[in-house]
């Protein structure tokens, strides 16, 4: 524990800017993955343990598309689109068969998919890690705000993730489709009784969740190593985000992801040996005070 260093950082504009940027990028990428987890749980009550696989495959698809097209934009779009399609196939072929089954059965199916696609990645891309490399447009020096370092690439990623958060939030609250999704989250039988095609609705929810995770994997690929099993590490934090924010709440996922990002950003200065511990303590504290999470609906 180094509270002096933390105090010094919090009173230094350069440190505040640098660590806040660091917290924002960690938090926003986490949000993109966790938003899918919470959306799927909110509507379908499915805890999608295979969500990290979408993130991993999104990164690998983007890596391949970048190699072919040399366009990072196309690579990100391809990663998101491929995982949206994969999400629909996953829901239709597997998850739709266990909606009414025991949660253990759902868990087993998700875990099987994780293991199968880890091996598929090994076969297709090899067991060793890959690095996409920074797109040429972002191979520029960082800019400085009040002496703090802000990398242009991260600024763009934060902007994209924030835009998606806004679109997702407004889409769910203002559009007819969003209202249907929210209604299905509360009472799917009634939504079905009103003549709404819930089969299609559920597939679309998986497409959105998969697409967001795929996009996060693709967006992060230039700076993170791609390796089989990489989805697992982000999955754990995504579930923490979902639990802290409240299962099913997109706003909760955003706030929780940013909280975790900031704990990482500043915790590493003040509690370098205990940053992960801080996150779990925060989760326990929130669950004790609000068992349904920050923005979750009390049962």
């Amino acid at each position: 524990m180094d509270l002096d260093a933390l105090g010094a950082c919090l009173t230094t504009p350069a440190c505040v800017v640098t660590q806040t940027t660091s917290g924002l990028i960690v938090g926003m990428l986490l949000f993109l993955v966790a938003a899918g987890v919470t959306l799927i749980f909110g509507v379908l009550k499915i805890v999608n343990f295979a969500h990290g696989t979408f993130y991993m495959l999104g990164g690998y698809v983007a890596y391949t598309v970048l190699g072919v097209t040399d366009s990072y934009t196309l690579a990100v779009l391809a990663g998101a689109l491929a995982m949206a399609v994969f999400g629909v196939l996953f829901e239709r072929a597997l998850i739709s068969r266990v909606y009414n089954s025991d949660v253990l059965m759902q868990l087993l199916i998700c875990y099987a998919v994780v293991l199968i696609f880890d091996d598929v990645v090994k076969i297709v891309w090899g067991p060793e890690f890959h690095a996409m490399g920074m797109p040429a447009a972002f191979q520029v020096p960082p800019f400085f705000i009040a002496g703090g370092v802000v990398p242009p690439f991260y600024a763009v990623l934060i902007g994209i993730a924030a835009l998606i958060a806004i679109i997702l939030g407004l889409g769910l609250s203002l559009t007819r489709f969003g209202k249907t999704v929210r209604a299905a989250a509360i009472n799917p039988q009634m939504v079905s009784a009103l003549g709404i095609n819930t089969t299609l609705l559920f597939a679309i929810v998986f497409a959105i969740g998969g697409g967001l995770a795929g996009m996060a994997g693709a967006l992060a690929a230039p700076v993170r190593s791609l390796s089989p099993g990489m989805g697992f590490s982000i999955l754990i934090e995504s579930f923490i985000v979902t639990v802290i924010g409240g299962m099913g709440s997109i706003l909760g996922a955003l706030v929780a992801a940013l909280l975790i990002g900031m704990v990482r950003g500043f915790g590493t200065i003040g509690f370098p040996q205990f940053t992960d511990g801080l996150i779990y303590i925060m989760m326990i504290a929130i669950l004790l005070l609000r068992p349904q999470g920050l923005f979750g609906r009390a049962s």
């Binding site: 950082c9 440190c15 640098t18 660590q19 940027t21 660091s22 917290g23 990028i25 960690v26 990428l29 090994k122 067991p127 060793e128 890690f129 890959h130 690095a131 996409m132 490399g133 920074m134 972002f138 191979q139 020096p141 960082p142 370092v149 990398p151 242009p152 690439f153 991260y154 992060a220 230039p222 700076v223 993170r224 190593s225 390796s227 089989p228 099993g229 990489m230 590490s233 982000i234 990482r264 950003g265 915790g267 590493t268 200065i269 370098p272 040996q273 940053t275 992960d276």
Partner: protein, 417 residues
């Protein structure tokens, strides 16, 4: 009632055909089970984040298998490897090593595990008395500690204490030249990262007592995002960073460090740069002080270059540090078996002890197996990175005289001798 035959194949004919087919396809496997063939067991990390190191070990051994078989095999018997994936789990490594000997009939072992697995395999080897060469464990105590050393187990690999002495001598000189006192460290948060960092610092402070460690960072192994680590390092404003990150973690760290211009804000030194890492980093910064894990141009000899080119031609990628270590293990087996004219564990152990072989990977073209069952005189050098091949230039070979002098002192401190 008359029984009529249906057209097409009868059930008996079908079964006969299937039997003949099975026998035909099984024939190569029957041939493989030929008792004359000498089976050699190898288990390593062939899946997971550092699988590239395990597969580079396997690749090198397959090249050696072809070379040795073309030269007549061991004692007139063709050799064949049985490869197993331990996934980096020590208990699985030990189970596989025992299975390779007891079930698969392997008469020699190549233990290509990292240190955690190698210590588990060591106990299996001790109980079975089978000849074994550890090819990838760098933890010094595996062979330096007489209580851990096993009679028929040897190590053909870098040793932590050798690298720590060599690296500290080089970096202290570099720090003196560039007037660098304030250092930061960044290493994976598990035994290797913490122990090896401590060992480097112990020697580093011996050669340069005025260094100050201004911050330490311990990211998790396989951590996807190093942003908070990088920003913490930048905030501490060290003059130089020493890092023990490796493989995918090192690649991700460099890629993420690049966008924070970390390499312009501090000097960086690492002993863990290998060809796959160099290839994976798309914008390798120039001027990182780096040890040579394996480098085609160090030692700068035709034989070393030929090995690198042959490996690249066959596997479409460059070798790693683990590749040369496994190659040399087979060269030691070859020389020892010829000398002992036997595959017996005790006879081979006697032949291996003190054995000196010619090999492209020795600093002077030779490597010696010392009587404490570990190798010396392999190529250790430090230079600096450059974005294009050969990736590390201005390589300065380390002084083995000094390495052994300080290693002996360290062994006395540890009460190993």
């Amino acid at each position: 009632m008359t029984r009529t035959r249906k057209p097409g194949l009868s059930r008996r004919s079908t079964l006969a055909l299937m039997g003949a087919g099975a026998a035909t396809f099984a024939a190569p496997w029957v041939a493989r089970a030929d008792s004359k063939k000498l089976m050699i067991g190898m288990q390593s990390i062939l899946s997971g984040p550092i699988a590239l190191l395990g597969t580079s070990s396997r690749n090198a051994l397959l090249m050696e298998q072809d070379r040795i078989n073309a030269a007549g095999g061991f004692l007139g018997r063709q050799i064949e490897f049985v490869f197993r994936d331990s996934k980096g789990q020590p208990q699985e490594a030990a189970r596989l090593a025992r299975e390779l000997v007891n079930t698969n009939g392997c008469e020699l072992l190549v233990d290509a595990e990292a240190s955690s697995g190698a210590f588990a395999v060591q106990e299996v080897v001790r109980s079975l008395g089978v000849p074994c060469i550890h090819t990838n464990s760098e933890t010094s105590s595996l062979t330096a500690d007489p209580k851990i050393r096993a009679p028929t187990a040897f190590r053909v690999a870098r040793q932590g204490v050798h690298d720590a002495v060599a690296g500290s001598i080089y970096l202290s000189g570099y720090a003196n030249t560039n007037k660098i006192n304030k250092w930061a460290t960044c290493a994976p948060d598990y035994a290797y990262g913490r122990d090896t960092t401590a060992q480097y610092l112990e020697f580093f402070k011996k050669f340069k007592p005025d260094i100050e460690i201004v911050t330490e960072a311990w990211p998790k192994l396989g951590q996807p995002d190093f942003t908070e680590v990088i920003t913490k390092l930048i905030q501490a404003k060290p003059q130089a960073l020493f890092t023990l990150l490796y493989a995918g973690d090192l690649s991700a760290f460099v890629n993420q460090g690049n966008i924070y211009a970390l390499f312009a804000q501090m000097k960086v030194a690492t002993p863990n740069v290998d060809y796959p890492v160099l290839a994976a980093i798309k914008n390798l910064p120039a001027g990182i002080q780096s040890a040579t894990r394996y480098l085609e141009t160090f030692p700068d000899t035709p034989a070393n270059k030929a090995f690198g080119e042959a490996y690249l031609k066959r596997w479409k990628e460059r070798p790693t540090n683990w590749s040369w270590q496994n190659t040399v293990a087979m060269q030691f087996y070859e020389a020892a078996i010829k000398k002992a004219n036997s595959l017996d564990g005790k006879a081979l152990a006697a032949a291996l002890t003190g054995l000196k072989i010619n090999t492209p990977f020795g600093v002077d073209g030779t490597i010696t197996m010392r009587d404490d069952h570990t190798t010396i005189n392999y190529a250790i050098g430090w230079g600096q990175t450059t974005p294009k091949p050969p990736f590390i230039v201005d390589v300065k070979p380390s002084d083995w005289g000094k390495i052994i002098e300080y290693e002996t002192e360290w062994k006395k401190q540890q009460k190993y001798i």
